[in-house]
Amino acid sequence: MALFKRNKQVRVIPGFKLTLGITIALLSLLVLIPLASVLVYSFKLSPSEFWKLITASNVLNAFATSIVCALIAALINSVFGLILAWVLVKYDFPGKRILDGLIELPFALPTAVAGITLSKMYSDTGFPGSFFSSIGLDISYTKIGIVIALIFIGIPFTVRAVQPVLEKLDNQYEEAAYILGSSRRRTFRKVIFPELFPSLLTGFGLALARGIGEYGSVIYISGNSAKDNTQVVSYVIMQKLERMDYASATAIALVLLIISFVLLFVINIIQIRRSRRISVR
């Protein structure tokens, strides 16, 4: 327990040991120990066995599909996240509060509901899917469909990461840059964007992490065809579970966990750095 040792200073508020104890106990029982079971089981596999399971062609394809689609969706979300945050912070217009409230819809709407709806909308019988298929562009059951589902799921992450930073950014910087003769594009590039970049990166990372592991909103629109490479990683894990192939399921899950942890770790570093930079000022 050396990890959670209290710092040497007088602590007057009571309840440290009790609340820390309850927190760690619940966290361990409900989250950490079950997750550790996945680790323990996957360590029973020999390295060569593990390697063989995760380099099976359908598994590699699923990782490629999940990562590429999540990257594209997170990039698109970063652009729109920046625009939406900008509009919500800098401008006043009727309906702004409704717009602001709707951003959180993907957090509140069950993923399965989003999944079947998007799948239906973008199939050749839905709107706007019928329009796209009439010009020869199929969206449902292709990778474009996966990207659309991931844009839906990821947009709140980027908007909500940038918005608070933009709110704190003083208009004076912008005005000073203008008075000193800087063009607007240059002001944005040199003054505003550098301030927003860390939070944009955080939002990008969160959307990416969510997108790589996403299940409910993706599996209906993706078509899940091994031939067309439209299976995502979560789908493959579920498929292995249903076939009772626990070795494959845990091996793939372990790789996915490592990817999530690395992303989470990087995001935390960005945030800690950011808060240090602000507190120095």
């Binding site: 710092n7 619940l26 409900l30 989250v31 939406l84 709407l109 509901v113």
Partner: protein
């Protein structure tokens, strides 16, 4: 904005309208259209069919299971959220960042992995299955975790674990801990400090955290999908929606959207509460300044 000359002001105005237009278009296509689409699809076969689809035995059973899982998950996560946010914001200790990161794990891992984790713990291959077996033989009970209601509950708790604490921690961080320290020096006990000083600050954050946690618990799909296999027994509403949708006939797809429309209504209610809550805290802050 007088500092900008006329030309500059006009060009800024054009940018403003382009950006607002883009934003409205994005929200309309990506968020409003899907919402409307659920409602339109659910009423495709008429209002009578809509209500018939909502009153099947499967849907009733799914409602009950969803309700049980949600109530337990929200209760556990509320207790955890209060305790964890207290320890994280009121004390300085080594490993605090590690603890916060660990609490956020369920937020950033695939829900399917959450389901897998409980299968590998309590399932046939899991190390805890022997413990459950010995409890069952000792007490003569027949407790099942995986593919039974307890598994559904555990998975729901797991995926919604950080929701309440995530709402409270930022509020307590802004408030600071001076008031609690003063109260403690003046001799107030821990629970009294919480009730009289901390609680009034976090009231609304707690309410919103609970509502968000409820919404997510009602709608959890991936984790529960791995742990629940009996339609009409351990299926939750999202699993019932999945079963209806995947059966493929036009009627049952409409039924799937009918059940979905219930969850859409809940989601919209959550958003409205969120908006009211934010408006309240913002106008309160403004008054404070």
């Amino acid at each position: 904005m007088e500092i900008f000359d006329q030309k500059e002001a006009r060009s800024r105005k054009i940018t403003k309208y382009i950006l607002i237009g883009l934003s409205v278009l994005f929200i309309a296509v990506m968020l409003i259209l899907p919402l409307a689409s659920v409602i339109v699809n659910s009423l495709r076969e008429g209002v009578d069919y809509y209500f018939k689809a909502l009153s099947t035995d499967y849907v009733t059973s799914a409602l009950v299971v969803t309700f049980i899982a949600t109530v337990i998950a929200v209760a556990v996560n509320t207790v955890f959220g209060l305790v964890a946010s207290w320890v994280i914001t009121k004390f300085d200790f080594k490993g605090k960042n590690v603890l916060s990161t660990l609490i956020d794990i369920p937020f950033s891992i695939s829900p399917v992995i959450a389901g897998l984790a409980f299968i590998m713990t309590f399932g046939r291959l899991g190390w805890a299955s022997e413990i459950i077996d010995s409890i069952n033989s000792a007490l003569g009970t027949d407790i099942q975790i995986v593919f039974a209601i307890p598994g559904v509950v555990l998975a729901t708790i797991f995926v919604t674990f950080p929701f309440v604490s995530r709402e409270i921690v930022p509020v307590l961080n802004t408030v600071g801990k001076d008031e609690e320290e003063a109260a403690s020096i003046l001799g107030a006990g821990g629970f009294k400090i919480f009730r009289k000083i901390t609680f009034p600050h976090i009231k609304w954050a707690l309410v919103y955290g609970i509502i968000l946690c409820t919404a997510r618990a009602l709608g959890e799909f991936g984790a529960v999908h791995a742990l629940s296999k009996t339609r009409g027994g351990t299926f939750t509403l999202p699993l019932e929606i999945d079963a209806l949708y995947m059966s493929g006939s036009a009627d049952s797809i409409t039924a799937a959207f009918a059940v979905s429309s219930l969850l859409v209504l809940i989601a919209v209610a959550v958003l409205i509460v969120r908006n009211v809550f934010e408006f309240r805290t913002k106008s309160k802050n403004r008054k404070g300044k």
